[in-house]
């Protein structure tokens, strides 16, 4: 089975994240870069499925030069090879453009299954899986907390507010995962050594047959007009419990008409 896992490098949520004043795009230099957390779960699921059913895991990532670090990590976890789309022209691409580029890579690479995170910690659009399924014309099996494959049949548990839905389709398909799905492995020393020799193909937009004018900030269908740091919340009242903390809390709730 030919599994492609989409992986994105994002600014670490622990560091202070901001936008660039010049063009209102993500300031990637301001924060440490890490692999999007949910993508670790996507990779883990890809590895488990190939361990059970055979086949290969290919990592596809679109992002700046620096994303190589996260690609290496994915390979150390056990992925077989990677495709890195790296091109200045892509800077500032929104979800619609990103999905167009990734769909091209996927068509070129071929796949039985595409796995991605249900959401990234920076953009948090959570639309990419749906956009890719739409572009590629394959079933969308998203927000998966469990994936089962039997021949060409695929069934998932889709996380819902009330529990989960069971959803079925046939391969090829696009699956997005939630963190409940598995526990990602850490790269082993052997894995880290092996990763150094694994192939990483670097592609430009032109290599994909895409006109650079069709991607990036200028070609995107959305724009950030302005932004500002959220003002800190006004300081509230903090009391120390001397046996009447609950009563005071109730008084506060009453003063705000919650009770």
């Amino acid at each position: 089975m030919n599994i492609v896992v989409l992986m994105k490098q994002v600014p670490d949520t622990w560091s202070e994240r901001t936008l660039r004043a010049a063009d209102n795009t993500l300031d990637r230099d301001a924060a440490d870069a890490v692999m999007n957390e949910l993508d670790e779960y996507a990779i883990e699921e890809g590895l488990r499925l190939t361990e059970a059913h055979g086949g290969e895991v290919t990592i596809v990532s679109m992002g700046p030069e620096k994303a190589t670090e996260s690609i290496r990590k994915a390979l150390s976890m056990g992925a077989d090879k990677a495709v890195h789309v790296s091109d200045e022209a892509l800077h500032g691409s929104d979800a619609l453009v990103t999905s167009a580029v990734l769909a091209k890579v996927l068509e070129r690479a071929g796949f039985d299954l595409v796995i991605l995170g249900s959401e990234s910690t920076d953009a948090r659009t959570g639309v990419l899986a749906a956009m890719l399924a739409e572009r590629l014309g394959v079933p969308q099996l998203t927000f998966a907390s469990k994936v089962d494959i039997d021949g060409s049949a695929i069934a998932i548990h889709r996380l819902a507010d009330y529990g989960y839905d069971t959803v079925e389709g046939t391969l090829p398909a696009v699956v997005s995962v939630v963190e409940k799905i598995n526990e990602p492995r850490y790269p082993s020393f052997k894995g880290i050594m092996a990763a150094k020799k694994k192939p990483v193909e670097t592609l430009t937009v032109a290599d994909l047959g895409i006109d650079p004018a069709q991607v990036g900030l200028a070609a995107s269908a959305t724009e950030v007009v302005e932004w500002a740091k959220r003002p800190p919340r006004a300081a509230g009242v903090v009391v120390t419990d001397d046996g009447d903390g609950g009563t005071k809390a109730a008084e506060f709730l009453a003063s705000r008409k919650f009770i």
């Binding site: 949520t13 936008l19 209102n24 949910l38 979800a95 619609l96 249900s118 910690t121 920076d122 948090r124 659009t125 959570g126 639309v127 749906a130 956009m131 572009r135 014309g137 394959v138 969308q140 099996l141 996380l159 819902a160 507010d161 009330y162 529990g163 989960y164 839905d165 069971t166 959803v167 389709g169 963190e179 995107s220 269908a221 959305t222 724009e223 950030v224 007009v225 302005e226 932004w227 500002a228 959220r230 919340r233 509230g236 009242v237 903090v238 009391v239 120390t240 419990d241 046996g243 009447d244 903390g245 609950g246 009563t247 809390a249 109730a250 506060f252 709730l253 705000r256 919650f258 009770i259």
Partner: protein, 313 residues
């Protein structure tokens, strides 16, 4: 705008979307599946002018694609100024597919929209507020539940059946079952006006009963930190935060939660925040409108008792 409903029952987010849509123009509701007749009065009460009804069961039986297909057809036929969807998991996915179909920009998780269709979004866990707009196609805007307070205004809510059959191409991901897990009668997490969340401070899964009791005394939903869901103390779908749900209730209560940045990302925009934590240095106190430094096992039972007294009296 796409209605979210369960049978005839109009979800609160739908009334929020109607309220917002009214400030931008004349709202037409898109209703999928059965129930429109029974919902008509409610939709009228919030100012729906028209209700496009596509009552096929396919919209519930197949994931996302049929709804996007329907909206795509309506966008082509009616040329709306914008399409609003709820920023729920499904709503955002519908938005994504519709964006591809119509080559339009999509704004997700919007908390407000101005007359010029500039959407306000809160990013990086609420640290930054951005104003964005769609520059190509029909603006598709996914609005975060609880961001708008619903207000009534009479509308005609004229039901207009649409006879667009769902194509086979949109019927590739079939919903074969819906499995409800423990949830009881509490409101939905993202829709609730009060959310009571518990964290590692609870110490054990069975102690979540205390959180549930407090929640029930207020008619609130229950949430949990990731430390609590990862420990298996509470089901994962109730996790609040960056990798869980984003909530913006009128009142958020954080009980035994330290307030890590990833947790704050999911609740920072709540209108009022109350905290109970025994560590006065816990970062969650920075957000608190009212905080109690103390042992939750003492403070919460007393609070529940006081609420009971006040509600009885």
């Amino acid at each position: 705008m796409l209605a979210e409903h369960s049978g005839e029952t109009v979800k609160k987010v739908t009334t929020e979307l109607l309220t917002l849509a009214r400030s931008l123009g004349e709202p037409s509701v898109v209703w999928t599946g059965p129930g429109a007749e029974g919902a008509k009065d409610r939709l009228a009460e919030f100012g729906a002018a028209k209700v496009y009804v596509a009552d096929s069961a396919d919209y519930d039986d197949y994931l996302v694609a049929p709804k996007a297909e329907l909206l795509g057809q309506l966008v082509a036929d009616k040329a709306p100024a914008a399409v609003l969807v709820p920023a729920t998991a499904e709503g955002r996915e519908v938005a994504g597919r519709l964006a591809v179909k119509t080559s339009s920009g999509v704004l997700t998780d919007v908390v407000g929209v101005s007359g010029e269709l500039v959407g306000e979004q809160s990013i990086f866990g609420g640290a930054i507020t951005v104003q964005s707009r769609v520059t190509a196609g029909t603006p598709i805007i996914a609005v975060r539940p609880n961001a708008v307070s619903p207000s009534a205004a009479a509308g005609a809510a004229v039901l207009e059946p649409v006879s667009i059959a769902v194509t086979d191409a949109a019927k590739t991901a079939r919903v074969t079952g819906r499995v409800a897990q423990e949830r009881g009668e509490r409101p939905e997490l993202t829709e609730a006006s009060i959310v009571v969340s518990g964290g590692r401070g609870l110490g054990a899964g069975e102690n979540f009963a205390l959180i549930e009791q407090l929640a029930d005394s207020l008619g609130a939903a229950v949430g949990a930190s990731r430390a609590a869901t990862d420990a298996g103390w509470y089901p994962h779908q109730f996790q609040v935060g960056q990798t869980g749900k984003t909530v913006s209730p009128q009142l958020y209560m954080a009980i035994g939660i330290s307030g890590a940045i990833q947790h704050r990302a999911g609740m920072q925009t709540s209108k009022t925040i109350m905290v109970v934590n025994k560590d006065p240095e816990a970062p969650i106190f920075e957000l608190a409108d009212f905080g109690v430094v103390g042992d939750l096992f003492k403070v919460v039972p007393q609070l529940i008792e006081e609420i009971g007294k006040r509600q009885a009296g």
